[in-house]
């Protein structure tokens, strides 16, 4: 990004325009920026501030106004609430279950597809098509696949002599089941990112190492993986952030159950704000969630900085 280039000494012209620009561009600039800025202030910046303010009040969904001032009461309640922590934990657990397979499988599939001389369109179709489906469609299909008694997986496993657990009905299996569905659904995105990354690696690197008698496995370890470092960082961070925001799968497939075993943090916000009408408290939980997302992003920036310096 070119942010550094704009930091320059201010010239003496009245409107602050750099010397090479014609003066008087201030007004047209405002015209060009206005549509975006108005919507942006109305629907992003404004609500963020409003949400922050609301989080300090006992605001109710069904009462006008902010209601009584709560100070840090909502935050204190959230941090002491076992429901808050368990939904945060479920979100983290979901992230842990989905992120490594989504990175490793996407990498392996992309690597294999990159070596394939034919049929790349087919692989792209097979792996990427699920990604563009609405979550509701994915959920309906997988609820059916997991149905006890006649589900596809249960029947297939039974044929090779394995008795299935109650996939979505058992509190211990519900989250892994949702994770499996999610891996199927979103793997295509990472697959395409890796495929693009692989195509940027110069071919002569491989040819040179083959001349030196390197096996394909050594090539992968010594060339491919290091060259894809930045792609992996990108994939990992996008994945973690997307996983933290998980809501759809739980809402449709398990309603956060059984016994709240799959209630994610966003579903907790939904429940508290819109089922229990406690929007002030829900706003406080949203802010805490926002902090978590910011921390993850900050870690990413640090890693990217280091990688850029290293290269």
């Amino acid at each position: 990004m070119t942010t550094e280039t704009v930091v320059r000494p201010r010239p003496a012209t009245e409107d602050g325009a750099p010397p090479e620009q014609r003066p008087g561009t201030g007004l047209p600039a405002l015209g060009f920026l206005a549509p975006f800025l108005i919507l942006y202030l109305a629907f992003i910046i404004g609500p963020t501030i409003y949400g922050l303010v609301m989080s300090f009040f006992d605001t109710s969904l069904v009462k006008p106004g902010l209601s009584g001032f709560a100070g840090f009461g909502n935050y204190a309640e959230a941090l002491q609430s076992s429901d808050f922590w368990s939904s945060l934990w479920h979100t983290v657990w979901f992230t842990v279950l989905t992120t490594p397979p989504l990175i490793v499988l996407a990498f392996v599939f992309a690597l294999l597809a990159d070596r394939a001389s034919r049929g790349r369109w087919f692989f792209r179709l097979a792996f990427f098509a699920p990604f563009i489906l609405p979550s509701a469609v994915v959920a309906l299909i997988w609820i059916f696949i997991y149905t006890p008694g006649l589900g596809l997986i249960e029947t297939a496993l039974l044929k090779i002599g394995i008795t299935s657990p109650n996939w979505l009905g058992d509190p211990n299996w519900a989250m892994p089941s949702l994770a499996m569905t999610t891996i199927w659904w979103t793997l295509g995105f990472n697959f395409v990112l890796y495929l693009a990354g692989l195509q940027e690696i110069p071919r002569d690197l491989y040819e040179a190492s083959a001349m030196d008698g390197a096996s394909p496995w050594q090539q992968i370890r010594k060339i491919t993986i290091p060259m894809l470092g930045r792609t992996t960082t990108l994939v990992a961070v996008l994945q973690v952030i997307a996983s933290l925001k998980v809501f759809d799968q739980m809402y449709i497939m398990t309603s956060g159950g059984p016994n709240f075993a799959t209630r994610s943090i966003l579903e907790y916000v939904y429940d508290e704000g819109f089922t229990n009408f406690r929007v002030g408290y829900a706003a406080a939980v949203s802010m805490l969630f926002f902090v978590v997302v910011l921390l993850v992003s900050a870690v990413w920036f640090t890693i990217v900085r280091r990688q850029e310096k290293g290269v």
Binding site: I44, L133, V192, F274, A283, F290
Partner: protein
């Protein structure tokens, strides 16, 4: 020396062949859920309780029942309107803003730039509570506007356009300016036509993201007659009970528009992802 190279080559060939086999197997595995949904949708409801791929009596009844008994056609209309409005709106306001940030010098330019940068950090999901109150106050709950408007100011879209505009050569604009063309004319006649790849990427992505969005539309669209496809499928599922063929038919019908978009714009979508790493 040649012997060594030859042996290495055979080894590589064998390795590639194994890779290909493994990949084919996984790709087929990945298609199973979709194939299974289609297979089930083609069965009569009574046949769906037997877990087998064979269909004794294939029929399209499930599809016609879903089309007749649910509001799915209405949902398509809602989704199409909302997604189109959002995609067009996003492309328009983001490209205008990006053009100003890329080509114009003005006071507080840095402030605006950092303000927009900050927006990338704010996930829409944390804003659902204030949004709901805001649209309640505006009297716009239960309308298409409530779904579309908050999705239009997308900071990341501004960045994609700005990055693209920064990379465009300026000579053409200089010539146009000599001829007395204003900013708006240059934006319309020169910049936007050149920026077609960026427009395609942002438009398709916004469209798909908006089409698939669930959480926010679920909150604001309470009435079945203005629901989007995902909200309708997620909310009114109870009506099908255990009629699996109908449920699968509704899932497939819900998937068709986006699969069509994907097949039409496959190249744009894939390049868009690879280029920007944009994700909802």
């Amino acid at each position: 020396m040649t012997d060594l190279a030859q042996r290495a080559e055979t080894r590589v060939k064998l390795f590639n062949r194994i890779c290909f086999g493994v990949l084919i197997a996984f790709a087929l595995l990945w298609l199973v859920p979709l194939a299974w949904a289609l297979d089930t949708a083609l069965k009569p409801n009574a046949e769906t309780t037997r877990t087998t791929w064979a269909i004794a009596d294939p029929t399209l009844d499930a599809f016609s029942r879903v089309l007749r008994d649910t509001d799915i056609i209405t949902w398509f209309g809602s989704s199409l309107f909302i997604s189109t409005l959002t995609a067009v709106g996003t492309v328009l306001v983001a490209s205008l803003a990006a053009y100003a940030l890329s080509r114009m010098r003005f006071r507080y330019r840095n402030v605006v730039f950092w303000l927009v940068l900050a927006g990338i950090m704010i996930p829409g999901q944390v804003l659902i509570v204030p949004w709901f109150r805001e649209f309640d106050a505006l009297g716009l709950l239960n309308t298409w506007w409530a779904v579309s408007l908050p999705q239009i100011p997308t900071a990341i879209a501004v960045f994609i356009f700005k990055q693209f505009f920064d990379g465009l050569p300026r000579e053409l604009e200089e010539v146009a300016r000599m001829d007395g063309a204003g900013y708006l004319r240059i934006y319309r006649k020169i910049i936007m036509p050149l920026a077609r790849p960026a427009v395609a990427a942002v438009a398709i992505f916004t469209f798909v993201t908006s089409w698939n969005d669930l959480l926010w539309p679920l909150l604001v669209l309470s009435n079945p007659d203005i629901m989007t496809v995902p909200v309708g499928l997620a909310t009114v599922q109870g009506a099908f009970g255990i009629r699996y063929a109908d449920t699968m038919a509704s899932a497939i019908l819900g998937a068709i528009p986006l699969v069509a978009v994907f097949l039409l714009f496959q190249r744009h979508i894939v390049e868009g992802i690879a280029g920007s790493g944009l994700k909802g």
